[in-house]
């Protein structure tokens, strides 16, 4: 892991919100070309408070409010990036990115290609995603597969404060456009899917110990979140914690791979683990059909077929809009994940 800090690293307990804010604080301080904007992100500091205090510290030139126009936010960011800035823009909820689709898919993602490197778009588009907060169908979606389907984008989703800060700094420094998805159920603490149990905070959690200064987590490396021998879980974001709960509750020794960056994928780590365990369960919160899990299952099949001892299992959200009152019937909690583990072991 690349680190640009002293050996005696000073760390502070941070929530994911604080860690993300710290990443932007660090980059605003290090690079005059970093600018941050989006709906409510300036004076108020964002509806999730991620940019709180940044305008006061760096001024309105560097952190400001934007009109309610995702297409305009991303479109202007493409222009700024073409000028030479490194814009970090916030889409208030991932559910709202659709009006910006043309600017993301046809413009940001292809600027380098279509101009043969004459113009580039080094921008980072942050967006809170995922459910578990009673957000209903317009505040709960996990649209990562829309982005992994687009050539030229990098799609990132952290599962903890340490990674969130390091990945966001790496994203801002990266010369390709990055979609940075933030599982909002993890903003304040790890979440194992048991919504009826007391909320856990990051304060006492080792992954909530975050270096104060600059460091990066590489964009092309998955993390082995939990080593295990029985089966491999390919997952990311909130489902990392749900998968861990399922492993603990079933007693199945799952090796959990936290992809961290979905695309371009660290296929090597994935293949190595599946070849070791011979079984694979893909877990994500997004809807099932044409979800990123389908790509993962296909890749595992292509690269590990003769090592597989069981069909690849997929645990996902149902193919319905994200419901409000029925949220916990929709959310793929530890029981559904654990059942998939058992099927994979029994096959």
């Amino acid at each position: 892991m690349k680190r640009d800090i002293d050996n005696d690293i000073k760390t502070t307990p941070m929530t994911m919100i604080q860690a993300l804010r710290s990443a932007m604080d660090v980059m605003l301080g290090r690079d005059d070309n970093v600018v941050i904007y989006g709906q409510d992100v300036g004076y108020f500091g964002g509806v999730f408070r991620v940019t709180d205090g940044l305008q006061a510290k760096y001024g309105k030139n560097r952190c400001f409010d934007a009109p309610i126009s995702e297409g305009g936010i991303v479109g202007t960011a493409v222009g700024m990036a073409a000028y030479g800035l490194r814009p970090v823009v916030e889409i208030q909820f991932a559910d709202y990115f659709y009006p910006a689709t043309d600017q993301i898919v046809s413009e940001a993602a292809r600027l380098r290609y279509r101009s043969a490197g004459d113009f580039t778009a080094p921008l980072t588009i942050r967006m809170p995603c995922g459910g578990g907060i009673y957000g209903g169908q317009t505040h709960s979606q996990s649209p990562e597969a829309f982005f992994t389907h687009v050539c030229g984008l990098r799609t990132v989703m952290p599962s903890n404060p340490y990674d969130a800060k390091g990945l966001l700094i790496a994203s801002i420094e990266n010369d390709d456009p990055v979609i940075f998805l933030e599982p909002k159920r993890l903003y304040n603490g790890p979440f194992d899917g048991h919504h009826d149990r007391p909320v856990v905070s990051w304060a006492k959690h080792p992954k909530g110990e975050v270096p104060d200064g600059y460091y990066t987590v590489p964009l092309d490396k998955a993390a082995v979140f939990r080593e295990g021998a029985d089966l491999t879980v390919l997952t990311y974001g909130t489902m990392v914690w749900v998968s861990e709960a399922a492993a603990n509750e079933t007693g199945i020794d799952a090796e959990i791979i936290d992809l961290r960056t979905l695309w371009p994928l660290d296929l090597e780590t994935v293949v190595e683990s599946v070849k070791k365990t011979g079984r694979c369960v893909v877990v994500h919160e997004a809807t099932r059909t044409s979800g990123f899990g389908a790509e993962l299952a296909a890749l595992v099949q292509e690269h590990c077929f003769y090592h597989l001892e069981a069909p690849i299992e997929r645990v996902t959200g149902w193919d319905t809009p994200y419901p409000h009152a029925q949220e916990w019937a929709y959310f793929p909690g530890p029981d559904r994940v654990g059942a998939a583990f058992k099927r994979a072991m029994e096959a």
Partner: protein, 410 residues
């Protein structure tokens, strides 16, 4: 009001269709010289009359009249004429090359040459244009080498864009020419963003975004107006109203009862409607807008009224949807003829000069084409390598693209 009558849908129609002559009175053309020139710090609401009127300098006899006359010197005017003629000759030559199948596709800007040419002269080096596919005159005015243009059109081994883009979708950063997208209107918020960046950095450069009348219906256009107004971005937003978006008359884009420039006033932006076939008016209005932007007075919207004299592209046959001779009757005429008449009237040009320049430019274009064809054409298959298709998707090639390149066997 108790009586109920059946409702009916209004679908705008042009007055002219094949076999039916166009009534151009809808253009609401004003006399040259009759429009006042306000100071550059004018309030946006005080440009309302300018946004529905029409700024014109050249009258029908080739005289420069009124407060917008920029008083250009002989050499600048001659350079303008030369650039417009070069653009037209180049376009004509490339249409022939497309018919010969040396390139797949082409788009001329016939009849619109004054707009990009004079606008480019009003900008400075370092200013960035975000053009559509019909602003090749910007590149001509900035003297981008013709050979490089033709190599892009031929998609050959020397194509600066490595064969990835349709012909005419140039990208020339060092000439202030942003990479052209085929998706319409996307460049408008981008131009605004580039201008915002210049302001954020305390730079002195300005941006100039371009769009056609048809694409103003896209949300990106209106979004761009909002952001330009909100942040008072140093940007010029140009709407080239050439009356036609492929077969769609400008009234279908919303130009029937209100000018495109008037939309700027509604968004809080100083706005002008200008005779786009009048080289002097284009130059003067562009300078006015550029001065506003550079003085931190914010954006300006300019509607350039012109006529797309050619087909939309080499894939289009306009005689199917409009009178084939419509341009002949277009009241704002031909920009090259009008500037030529003015130069002759000034005593700075002659028919003999014109013929000599025509021959010189034809030879220059032909020589550039021949030079470019040495690097291949679509016919001889000397196009960029298939392996290069995998480059520039990301800054560094990821593993999955290396694998796919190997699968292709290149």
């Amino acid at each position: 009001m108790s009586q109920s009558t059946p409702l009916s849908l209004h679908v705008p129609e042009p007055t002219g269709r094949p076999g039916c002559k166009t009534d151009f009175s809808y253009l609401d053309i004003h006399q040259a010289g009759d429009t006042p020139r306000p100071p550059v710090d004018v309030r946006y609401q005080d440009t309302a009359a300018l946004a529905t009127g029409m700024i014109r300098v050249l009258d029908d006899d080739g005289n420069a009249v009124g407060p917008w006359d920029p008083g250009l010197d002989r050499d600048t005017l001659r350079f303008g004429l030369r650039t417009m003629m070069k653009t037209r000759i180049f376009d004509a030559r490339m249409v022939i090359a497309q018919r010969q199948k040396k390139l797949s596709f082409y788009m001329t800007c016939l009849g619109e040459e004054a707009i990009g040419t004079a606008h480019a002269l009003a900008l400075k080096d370092g200013d960035m244009c975000f053009p559509t596919y019909r602003q090749q005159s910007l590149l001509m005015a900035r003297e981008y080498p013709l050979v490089d243009m033709v190599c892009q059109l031929l998609s050959n081994e020397a194509d600066p864009l490595k064969g990835r883009q349709l012909p005419v979708m140039y990208s020339v950063k060092n000439k202030g020419f942003f990479t052209i997208s085929g998706n319409l209107a996307t460049q408008i918020p981008q131009a605004v963003g580039w201008a915002m960046a210049s302001a954020i950095k305390g730079d002195t450069k300005i941006a100039s975004g371009w769009i056609g009348d048809g694409a103003t219906a896209e949300s990106d256009f209106h979004t761009g107006l909002t952001f330009a107004h909100v942040y008072q971005a140093p940007v010029i937003l140009n709407v080239v109203n050439n009356q036609w978006a492929i077969s769609t008359f400008q009234a279908i884009a919303g130009g029937e009862s209100v000018s495109f420039a008037a939309r700027g006033v509604g968004a809080g932006i100083a706005s002008l409607r200008v005779d786009g076939n009048d080289f002097l008016a284009v130059y003067a209005a562009s300078c006015w807008a550029a001065e506003r932007a550079r003085a931190n007075l914010g954006p300006t919207l300019i509607e350039w009224v012109t006529y797309r004299a050619g087909p939309h592209s080499t894939s289009d046959d306009p005689s199917r949807y409009r009178p084939a001779d419509e341009w002949t009757y277009f009241p704002l005429g031909d920009p090259i003829c009008r500037l030529r008449r003015h130069l002759i009237r000034q005593g700075w040009w002659s028919d003999a000069d014109h013929e000599a320049l025509q021959a010189e430019l034809e030879a220059e274009v032909l020589a550039a084409q021949k030079e470019a064809e040495r690097h291949g054409t679509l016919i001889d298959g000397r196009v960029p390598s298939a392996a290069s298709m995998f480059e520039d998707v990301y800054k560094d090639m990821p593993e999955h693209l290396r694998r796919q390149r190997q699968q292709l066997g290149v």
